[in-house]
């Protein structure tokens, strides 16, 4: 495995405060493009806060504010003139719990594209097929696209959510927040398979509570603890010869 060449997101001295308490402390990290970065750490380590900072979803939380810089392709996404709505179309997110919107499978997938102003039926049809195929769901739902997304199983709903993210044509980065925490092993395998294909086109950041999952799919791994980034590096290194004692204890299951 080669060392990362292109930096997609550069995080520089980034901190997040919630009600004056610091949720993230002085994080500096580079996320290379077309690779999967796994983020591991015990509950409360700030890994989800970090993920939600990457598409500025933390903006929705009252009394939360960020300091420092986050550069996406060299541009600071926290600069006052940066368009948040455009950012979220480039940086898509998959949540821990699958949330199909209460509308048809088709409408779920075209939610993003419609917001971007795509109206032509043929173009939308093409997006739906491409996205559902990329999320390994097409074969299961191609005959019932008008059925409500809520009637799918949990695993299918999560793949529908992935398809919904992939449907955005502006998409460059995919954020995943413990996307398999509620899923069966087969659905998990399908999501992981999709990710390894998708990294050819996108940059992927995967937060997971399952260290084995990070070891399986992540190219690089970052270990968070109590709002601090302890260490980051190639996945093999983190899981075999980490620099920090705490990292070693966590990945070998001795705490957390």
């Amino acid at each position: 495995m080669s060392a990362p060449e292109n930096v997609k997101i550069s995080v520089q001295r980034f901190s997040v405060y919630h009600n004056r308490e610091d949720a993230l402390r002085d994080i500096t990290l580079e996320i290379p493009s077309n690779r999967i970065l796994g983020i591991i750490g015990p509950a409360g380590s700030g890994k989800t806060t970090f993920l939600r900072a990457l598409n500025r979803l933390n903006d929705l939380v009252p009394d939360m504010h960020a300091e420092g810089k986050m550069l996406l392709d060299g541009q600071d996404i926290y600069h006052p003139s940066f368009d948040v709505v455009a950012l979220r179309k480039r940086v898509g997110m998959l949540f821990a719990l699958p949330v199909a919107l209460p509308m048809s499978i088709y409408e779920n997938v075209v939610y993003g594209p419609r917001l971007s102003g795509i109206r032509q039926r043929a173009r939308l049809d093409e997006i739906v097929e491409r996205s559902l195929q990329a999320a390994f769901l097409w074969d299961e739902v191609k005959d019932r696209l008008q059925m409500s997304g809520l009637r799918l199983s949990g695993g299918q709903q999560q793949r529908l959510c992935l398809a919904r993210v992939l449907a955005m044509e502006e998409l460059e980065v995919i954020l995943l927040d413990e996307p398999c925490s509620g899923l069966d092993p087969i659905s998990t395998a399908k999501i992981e398979e999709a990710l390894t294909v998708l990294k050819n086109k996108y940059t992927i950041v995967l937060v997971t509570n399952n260290t084995k999952q990070a070891a399986r799919v992540a190219d690089d791994t970052a270990f968070f603890l109590m709002g601090n980034l302890i260490e980051t590096g190639l996945t093999e290194k983190i899981f075999t010869v980490p620099d920090d004692k705490r990292t070693n204890e966590y990945v070998t299951g001795r705490f957390g």
């Binding site: 598409n55 979803l57 949540f95 949330v99 939610y111 008008q146 009637r151």
Partner: protein, 279 residues
């Protein structure tokens, strides 16, 4: 000595059952009584002709029109204002002392007797704005009266929409407004419809506020500035002035049936909408 649980249980069940029975019986009695006295007088001619002789003879066509127009206009005014207010309170502001004060204010408004709204409408719309007794004065007054109901029910409905839906929508690059339009309002619709039905119910049976503001003319209203008489005002006048008890009962029967029909219609529309979304 302790009473065995079996006995307390039986006692509680029979007490609750009795309360339910009493409520239903009283309601049914009123409906059956009014329909029984009124229905014989309800003919096609009664519905479709103008009243004669102050309502002693003839039909109730203008009051039927008034009863439809007045609540429809009131809801048309109150719905956008009420839903707009509740969207603003829930989606665009944080919970502050001001929003709590606004909510307290609407709750107080909901409890004010309708005659107060009538008096206000009379002084403000009819006299001060020189609009006179007319459909529009009545509709505006009723709109103010049902506004608190619509705001509160819409607000509850909007709050009940899962926050996860909003997050998904934002994460897919929607603005707040797009999220409100595409996710929040469609999912809050059943609750909003409940508010509208309650509002229609309250305004269709309203007498005091209407008689003060829309007047009681028996002509067919042609514009929004014509005075109009609703069915409830009509049978109030018929009964009070001793014009015709038979026609008062017949009008009341028509009113009861209309209210039932409106409720059935709104709920079936709502169920069709929900069924369509979860198919």
């Amino acid at each position: 000595m302790r009473i065995p649980p079996k006995i307390t249980q039986a006692f509680a069940v029979s007490l609750l059952g009795f309360a339910t029975l009493l409520t239903v019986v009283v309601l049914l009695f009123i409906i059956v009584f009014v329909l029984g006295k009124g229905l014989p007088g309800v003919t096609w001619e009664f519905l479709a002709t103008n009243p004669k002789d102050m309502g002693k003879a003839g039909g109730i066509l203008p009051t039927l029109v008034g009863t439809v127009l007045l609540p429809v206009m009131a809801i048309a005014i109150a719905l956008p204002l009420g839903v707009g207010t509740s969207v603003y309170l829930t989606e665009y502001t944080r919970e502050t002392r001001l929003t709590r004060a606004l909510r307290f204010g609407t709750d107080c408004l909901a409890g004010i007797p309708s005659i107060i709204f009538g008096l206000f409408g009379f002084i403000f719309f009819v006299v001060m704005l020189k609009m006179g007794w007319c459909l529009l004065s009545g509709a505006l007054t009723l709109a103010i009266m049902v506004l608190p109901t619509i705001i509160r029910t819409s607000e509850e409905a909007i709050r009940a929409v899962p926050n996860a839906y909003r997050e998904v929508s934002f994460a897919l690059g929607a603005t707040r407004w797009e999220t409100v339009l595409k996710v929040v309002l469609p999912n809050a619709l059943p609750g909003i419809v409940t508010g509208v039905v309650l509002g229609i119910g309250r305004s269709i049976g309203e007498t005091a506020a209407v008689i003060f503001t829309a007047g009681s003319a028996l002509r067919m209203p042609m514009t929004a500035f014509d005075s109009v008489r609703t069915m409830s005002v009509h049978f109030y006048i018929l009964a009070r002035e001793g014009i015709s008890n038979q026609n008062a009962y017949a009008t009341a029967a028509v009113l009861i049936i209309s209210v039932l029909l409106i409720n059935l219609l709104s709920y079936s529309m709502m169920h069709r909408f929900i069924a369509k979304r979860s198919r």
